[in-house]
């Protein structure tokens, strides 16, 4: 280095080895990547907030949507499972920071063990998220959509949700799903639901204790339940049976609710997946002794930053999707 130095200042600033802001190049770039990614997620969550405030009267109640727990089918367990997921992710963050800590003391085995634990935590989280999605997509009760785009759900006299399968009439029909691949139809039709609109409406009329529940929230912050007469009147506008959720419509309520759910948790899940892959890469490098040779485990620290960031995002997603 000394050979090219003309003055002390230029040598110090431009001839390499200089670290702006006291951090290595990789770490600095990881920080600024995190800044930009954090702004991306903020944009998504702010957009979610916008839609929620825009449709504040009719937005679905998260507790009613995410109330599943493994092996406890049919019981109402709001949030327990997401709380478990949050816990898993925070714990994997802890093992990651312990790996970084062990790296500072060049303890190869300890770093490797903590990396494995972090990777396992990441996989548990991804599996949980897949399970959440499965429940969300499959749906539980089913609903109908009116021509105006409103979702109507069904409750009994006590206000408890009733599934379509519990009351839908069985009307013989020759309806078939229109698929382009079958060669008869020029365009494919909407996916065929288990029950036709007529079956749902007739079944509703045959069960006098059923009521229709609309999306509108009352003063008590509960969904409005119509009277029997209003219900039958309302069902005349039905044109579609909704089961579960997709990007076009969902049985929980407003269309945007499912869209935001898929998009934000999906984008976060993609980050977790990327993080797990990077963790595996770093883990093998730890085993191979790459960082041992460098006498520096800074790579673990950089990947750690990303992993903590993913945890940080989840903390916000958890709040805005499940709690608020």
């Amino acid at each position: 280095m000394a050979a090219t130095v003309t003055t002390a200042t230029t040598g110090k600033t431009w001839d390499g080895g200089n670290e702006p802001m006291g951090a290595s190049y990789g770490k600095l770039m990881m920080w600024f990547f995190i800044v930009s990614d954090a702004l991306t997620f903020s944009g998504f969550l702010a957009a979610y907030g916008f839609s929620r405030f825009k449709f504040i009267e009719t937005w679905p109640i998260a507790d009613e949507v995410f109330n599943h727990f493994p092996f406890m089918h049919g019981t109402d367990a709001p949030m327990y499972y997401v709380a478990f997921m949050t816990f898993v992710l925070i714990f994997s963050s802890v093992t990651m920071v312990l790996a970084v800590d062990a790296g500072h003391h060049l303890k190869k085995t300890k770093v490797a063990i903590y990396m494995v634990l972090t990777i396992i935590g990441g996989f548990i989280f991804l599996g949980s998220q897949a399970w959440e999605w499965k429940n969300f997509i499959k749906g539980e009760f089913g609903a109908v959509e009116t021509r105006g785009g409103a979702i109507l759900q069904f409750v009994d006299a006590e206000g408890k949700r009733v599934a379509l399968s519990e009351f839908a009439a069985d009307i013989p029909t020759d309806r078939v799903e229109k698929k382009k691949s079958e060669g008869i139809w020029f365009q494919s039709g909407p996916a065929m639901s288990t029950y036709s609109v007529e079956e749902v409406v007739e079944g509703f009329k045959a069960n006098p204790n059923l009521r229709v529940r609309t999306e509108f929230l009352t003063k008590e912050k509960k969904k409005t339940i119509l009277t029997r007469e209003q219900s039958i009147e309302r069902l005349k506008e039905t044109h579609y049976v909704v089961e579960g959720a997709n990007l076009i419509r969902n049985e929980y309520g407003h269309k945007l609710f499912a869209n935001f759910f898929f998009f934000i948790t999906g984008f976060h899940g993609f980050h977790v997946f990327t993080g797990v892959m990077l963790n595996i890469l770093v883990f093998f490098n730890v085993l191979l002794g790459t960082y041992e040779k460098r006498r520096s485990y800074e790579m673990v620290e950089k990947i750690g930053l990303y992993w903590h960031f993913v945890d940080l995002v989840w903390v916000f997603v958890f709040t805005f999707f499940y709690l608020v």
Partner: protein, 116 residues
């Protein structure tokens, strides 16, 4: 650095316990939803939601400062990461949520219907 090892891990476990406790408190509140908080609104949002958001920011602080060690970085790095985020997020949320509320008001008070 070796001498600070013991205290570091202790600190990590303490933060883990703290974050877990906050999460458990959030979940308990979310399940029982006390009427006194859930039914009282402050700036178009109920008090329970305000509590959740404050607790979330509290958790975010601990994750960035303790797990990501931003507290240990140089001041210039620390603030060039934190300051733009804090400013832009507050700004973005402020204008966008107000706009959302305005659009709601327009639909609500006019004779237009978006859902029927």
């Amino acid at each position: 650095m070796a001498h600070s090892h013991e205290s570091n891990t202790k600190r990590i476990w303490f933060v883990f316990a703290l974050l877990s406790v906050i999460t458990i408190v959030e979940v308990i509140f979310g399940i029982i939803k006390p009427d006194s908080l859930y039914m009282t609104n402050l700036f178009h949002m109920n008090l329970l939601n305000w509590i959740f958001i404050i607790l979330t920011i509290f958790k975010a602080y601990y994750i960035t400062w303790e797990f990501m060690h931003i507290g240990g970085e140089k001041g210039s790095l620390k603030w060039s990461v934190v300051a733009p985020l804090v400013f832009l997020v507050i700004y973005l949320v402020f204008i966008i949520l107000i706009e959302g509320n305005y659009v709601f008001d327009v639909f609500h008070k006019s004779h237009y219907k978006w859902i029927f």
